[in-house]
């Protein structure tokens, strides 16, 4: 962060493309996220939201375009450099992706023990504290992920994502599959945790209620491109027919769902 002036965006995507075979998923994504900002990306299922995050995390390599963090390009890094970059990023996966061979606290402490080479006893202390941050008792730490409910899994995933005090956090559909009340609680935890560690956040969702609670700014992904972005407050008068249709969940409008004719 030393050489990053305030005008350099924390995360920047320029013309990012990703194809699978003949199928184009990302078709030139341009996006900037400022330091400390919470950006929510909305868009229908299968529009490539997860693929975009995976490109930033280096899990997928973009076919074209450039991704920068703090002004440094990160698309073609060596394994060691990649690990160093990822050590500064936390990720909550869509289905939490907890390691089911490890206990809950070992999951939360994983990045500390394996990535940062911390002593187990000390990592466990931090893990228990992070579990408390997301509203889970210390005795949950000894359970196996298979014993947890959906809401608890998301909380553990959240605790794992923030355990290393990352500068950047990604949330992939944090409330999908939860009841509205639990969804609300998770949203508040996300806002709280992001503020607490002072991180820059990108969240993906197609739950508008959740998006309004989390976002400083919103962007909409459609057909592999960002077709609109603006302050969260202006989402209702975006002047964009696609955004309007999505916000109101209307069946009629310019967005055509890619359903195959039966």
């Amino acid at each position: 962060m030393s050489d990053a002036t305030p005008t350099v965006p924390k995360i920047k995507l320029a013309g990012v493309e990703k194809h699978f075979g003949t199928k184009t998923v990302l078709n030139g994504v341009d996006l900037e996220v400022a330091q400390g900002e919470s950006l929510v990306i909305i868009g229908g299922s299968g529009t490539g939201k997860s693929v975009m995050l995976k490109c930033i995390l280096g899990l997928l390599t973009p076919d074209a375009g450039e991704i920068e963090i703090d002004g440094r390009p990160i698309t073609r890094l060596s394994t060691a450099e990649r690990e160093a970059v990822n050590a500064r990023i936390g990720m909550l996966f869509q289905n939490a992706a907890l390691f089911d061979s490890l206990s809950v606290w070992e999951n939360v402490a994983f990045g500390l023990i394996q990535g940062k080479r911390m002593k187990r006893a000390r990592a466990k202390e931090i893990a228990i504290r992070k579990l408390a941050d997301v509203g889970l008792d210390a005795d949950v730490g000894a359970l196996s992920p298979a014993e947890l409910s959906g809401g608890m899994r998301k909380r553990v995933g959240l605790a794992r994502a923030i355990a290393g005090d990352p500068e950047i956090i990604f949330f992939d559909e944090p409330t999908t599959g939860l009841d509205p009340i639990m969804g609300h609680i998770i949203d508040e935890l996300i806002v709280h945790c992001v503020r607490q560690v002072g991180a820059t956040a990108i969240s993906i969702t197609h739950d508008m209620a959740s998006a309004r609670r989390i976002a400083d700014r919103m962007a909409m992904l459609y057909r592999g491109e960002i077709i609109w972005s603006g302050p969260a407050a202006s989402i209702d008068d975006s002047g964009n027919a696609y955004v309007d249709q999505f916000v109101h969940g209307a069946a009629e409008g310019p967005i055509r769902m890619e359903l195959r004719k039966l």
């Binding site: 995976k54 280096g58 907890l98 390691f99 994983f110």
Partner: protein, 257 residues
């Protein structure tokens, strides 16, 4: 429509798959020899492969040795060549049956389990999660399994050797009326270091192949529960075939004149 096109496509797909597997193996081996290693994980895999496979391998080779003695007797008795039984048993067990049977059993037991575990981790994004937590999945998942496979299989096969020879002994002495002491002396005099060593070399190679196939198919699996099931089947089938092919090649290397 050019009739050679599908053939060409299949051939290219085969080359591509071979290349991918080769690359996977090279990266995996690279992480086995470069620190840091994960002793805790290697230990767990070793216990899984070595300790929990003991009953399966022991029983398989025990009965193989028993049936070998019985069958050789019915054949050899016609030529009054019963004396050859101890040597037939010890040679067949140490050179071929113990490593191959143990290899196939481990392919079914361990190769399938590895493919299912890594495949599930892949489709539930746990492997992606490893990378986001600055942990190399090759080092964390693949290397410990390869190391455990290569080191534990020879141990299993050594125990399989003992069990197989013991099986032959039991049948020969208690059923076919051999003198116990003569049987043991004959076995001991006949067996050569090379017989056992070649079996152990095979075992190490088979252990590597089983772990490699289990990891590779699991790691590359796609598409939910069905993909994991497919990966498991592919791991067992490909490991078994590779075991039989490499068994022939190693035998030729050791014993062809």
């Amino acid at each position: 429509m050019n009739p050679f096109r599908p053939v060409g496509h299949a051939f290219l797909a085969f080359l591509e798959a071979t290349g991918r597997l080769f690359l996977f193996a090279v990266i995996g081996i690279g992480h086995c020899v470069r620190p840091p290693l994960y002793p805790r994980l290697i230990g767990r895999q070793m216990i899984d492969i070595g300790y929990y496979s003991l009953p399966v391998v022991g029983l398989t080779t025990l009965f193989a040795g028993m049936v070998l003695a019985l069958q050789s007797y019915t054949g050899f008795a016609r030529f009054s060549a019963e004396d050859a039984i101890p040597s037939v048993v010890v040679l067949s067990i140490t050179r071929e049956l113990s490593p191959v049977l143990a290899g196939l059993m481990i392919a079914g037991r361990i190769g399938a389990a590895m493919a299912a575990e890594l495949g599930t981790m892949r489709v539930t994004e746990q492997i992606d999660a490893l990378e986001t937590l600055s942990t190399n999945p090759y080092k964390y998942l693949v290397a410990p399994r390869l190391i455990a496979g290569v080191t534990m299989m020879p141990l299993l096969v050594l125990i399989g050797d003992v069990m197989g020879i013991f099986g032959g002994y039991v049948v020969s002495v208690f059923k076919l009326g051999f003198n116990a002491q003569t049987y043991i002396v004959n076995t001991w005099n006949f067996v050569q270091a090379m017989d056992v060593v070649s079996g152990l070399v095979k075992a190490a190679v088979f252990g590597f192949l089983v772990a490699l196939m289990g990891c590779y198919h699991g790691y590359m699996s796609r598409g939910g529960a069905q993909g994991v099931g497919q990966a498991t089947t592919n791991a067992v089938v490909s490991a078994s075939i590779l075991i039989l092919i490499s068994n022939y090649l190693i035998t030729e290397m050791f014993f062809a004149q």
